[in-house]
Symmetry: C2
Subunit: 142 residues, 2 copies
């Protein structure tokens, strides 16, 4: 499979679906997220995309990331106090935040667990999204 082409198409599609344009800036930002999936901050994304598009501004990176989140192509993740991080993994998953290194890992969630968790909501509560964040230590090397 050719992830870039595939995802570039899905980018164009999803943008068009929302009546938005597919710009070079949006492409490089999305590609940067797909290329190195280490949950970068907006600042880190900015640094990376400057290689391809030296004049892109940080404000545009924020705009593009927000656009991608709106189009459901990217998830924004917030850990305590730190800057927002971005994740192109759309499968339902949790995040593990290694407190020693600051690294973040995706944790796959078995199908069914999400709905089981949603079951604890009392009547009248309707959740669009659930964020699950583990914090602790890991010996896993990835």
């Amino acid at each position: 499979m050719t992830p870039n082409t595939l995802n570039s198409e899905s980018l164009a599609q999803k943008l068009a679906h929302s009546g938005l344009r597919n710009t070079p800036q949006r492409e490089v930002v999305y590609t940067a997220l797909l290329t190195k999936r280490d949950h970068p901050t907006a600042d880190e994304v900015h640094a990376r995309v400057r290689a391809d598009l030296p004049t892109i501004s940080l404000a545009t990176v924020y705009n593009c990331l927000e656009t991608l989140v709106q189009c459901d192509l990217v998830r924004a993740v917030n850990f305590e106090r730190g800057p927002t991080r971005y994740c192109p993994n759309l499968a339902p998953h949790a995040h593990f935040h290694d407190e020693a290194t600051g690294a973040t890992f995706d944790i796959d969630l078995p199908t069914g667990l999400i709905s089981k968790i949603k079951d604890v909501l009392p009547p009248g509560y309707d959740a669009d999204a659930i964020d699950i964040i583990f914090r602790g230590k890991t010996t896993a090397t990835r």
Copy 2:
């Protein structure tokens, strides 16, 4: 039951246990959290405690809140992009964030669910804490 006395004692105890002093500032900050459990920000806590201690500074409120978190008397909760909010509910629970009003509700978690969720962690991952945040709409009035 007299929640303030009870909790004032547990505050003094827990502080002593960590070799810390029980100061008027720490008391009013903790009492403020117990009195109105609406997950206030540091700024909101500051506004509330000024009624009791007009000269308390925002920096001190931040210091006290951090101290209380260290002593496991209070939990810090972070929603996307917003300021950190503080919660004196120590029972394991999730948070529901109403996107329309910005209000936050505690959601009790049945015993066993936490460990069930922890089971999805691959070997080598050791979580100290789990944050579960629902985002959506609610018709619940509380």
